[in-house]
Symmetry: C2
Subunit: 316 residues, 2 copies
């Protein structure tokens, strides 16, 4: 219980993490009104749902908890990403998904992006669909996938002077035309913003290997503009602020649940959230308990399904 | 004279720069055996040779000076870049050109790149041609210009395990296939090097505007590998070391002549070279003499052609 009570004030980091007891789990449920889930390694592994997770989600929903499924995938909108859940037999609403494509649109809405301005998109359909839902004008994206810069003496590319933000998300059709167009907007349109959905080095296009992620697309634009982007996806602060505001919650009423210490747990701790590590993904108990690790979640358990224990009779 | 005498030891930076007198110019010629020229703004401006420069180069050659023309353009080999000089009526040998494509090949030669290993090239023909001249095997480059990653479940890209270096130069045909291939080599081939011809944010593909430079291509690979490249072109130390070794010269016997304070002059000063600023390019005398500027060349003059003054009778 001490561990949970200390959530969010940093005191828990000095003691060795303890595997969550049933009391710890009940304390979490008493305190937390919203669970933010990293998906890979928590909800599913590759193409398989982790045992007991659907039942756990059902239990949390029955208790009235708000669930948020976070992904840095920007290639799909929330509606597009929903298919992955449905295909896996998970009953999730698109409003419960927080994709980095949505984060970009939500950010522009939050800063009251001017109605008469446009966004230039480096990225795939997800960003466009989310911008459409917010009524924000945009150009670029898939429409520029096959454009080439054919050089002639004196040639120049003319950027639309109404572009006031460049949003950069993962783009399998990244090309020099898009890089130059985005660079011109950022360098030459006064005040033009540079927004990155995320900076992930690698992404999981297929299970067979790790693929270069949006770190590449953002790196390309950073390299030609010498400007740092505003990041809106995980682990940016904006997402937490946006979720806390939307549901009217204090930070410690929100629990970040993930399988990675240096991203998920650290992100939650830095944001003042309650943090939960599950061992169903990339982190082992040995790594967690190693003296080399200083990132301690408030609670940890084998998998999210271990939360079902709170439903068992006390002496079972 | 005091300015020249102090060259290379940094003492000159504390006093206000003085426009070079005929004595300063003669002192430079007494001391310096090799001139390294930045080209744009020094030799030519856009498509026109700067007045008096061909005669100055002839004079320096007649005095036995070694001339080196430096460019961060990696899209052409030295032989390919020669055409630009010839078209402008300048009499230059390809061995006098130091392109960043050549720098990449010279670097691999200097570190004794293994004969049984290969280079993966992100870039255009210049790098390939220079690697061929050194007998270094390579793959990628223009051959991968139209390759696409067509996703299927379980798909993976398999990199050649013999790739022991990735060389990244400016590439108008940058695409996701190349980014992923380069990323795999750097992340998964043990010891694989990551070499950048240069990090220039912008380049001059046409005179009509600035174009995103190799900073974009390098930024893309940096973003997915989280590795820093070894830079071989300007302003990397390797080029100076390579030139000094090749001609058997001390650093202060080499003069860096350029039109930019924060690149050319700073590069020369950091490398212990004698430094010459010409006002025929981007830097004005006002900028040079401003109290805000702390980068002081050993000598400065209106243009390289001002060196011709040393041939005039003393009282002319």
């Amino acid at each position: 219980m001490a561990v949970v009570a200390a959530a969010g004030n940093g005191a828990a980091t000095s003691s060795k993490p303890q595997r969550a007891t049933v009391q710890d789990k009940k304390a979490i449920l008493d305190k937390v009104d919203c669970f933010i889930f990293d998906c890979d390694g928590v909800i599913w592994r590759g193409d398989s749902v982790i045992d007991g997770v659907p039942e756990t989600l059902d239990m949390l929903r029955a208790m009235g908890k708000q669930l948020v499924f976070v992904t840095n995938n920007s290639t799909k909108s929330r509606a597009g990403y929903l298919k992955k859940f449905t295909d896996l037999g998970l009953n999730v609403k698109s409003e419960e998904i927080y994709s980095s494509s949505y984060a970009a649109a939500a950010y522009l809405e939050a800063i009251e992006f001017p109605q008469d301005k446009k966004v230039y998109v480096v990225g795939e359909v997800g960003i466009q669909e989310e911008l459409d839902l917010k009524g924000i004008a945009h150009i670029g994206g898939p429409a520029d996938a096959d454009k080439k810069v054919e050089l002639k003496p004196g040639m120049l590319l003319e950027q639309d002077p109404d572009v006031a933000a460049v949003v950069v998300g993962f783009d399998r059709n990244i090309n020099y035309y898009k890089i130059q167009y985005a660079t011109l907007c950022i360098r030459e349109n006064p005040g033009c913003m540079f927004i990155a959905t995320n900076l992930d080095a690698v992404t999981h296009l297929t299970d067979a290997q790790e693929w270069a992620g949006n770190g590449s697309m953002v790196g390309a634009i950073r390299g030609s503009t010498k400007r740092e982007p505003t990041v809106v996806g995980k682990p940016a602060e904006f997402m937490l602020e946006n979720i806390a505001t939307k549901f009217g919650l204090r930070r410690d009423q929100i629990c970040m649940c993930g399988d990675r210490l240096d991203t998920d747990v650290l992100f939650g701790k830095n944001g003042g959230l309650t943090t939960m590590l599950v061992l169903s993904g990339v982190t082992t108990e040995e790594q967690l308990l190693s003296p080399d690790n200083s990132i301690h979640p408030d609670v940890y358990m084998d998998s999210l399904a271990a939360m079902l224990e709170v439903k068992l009779p006390v002496n079972a």
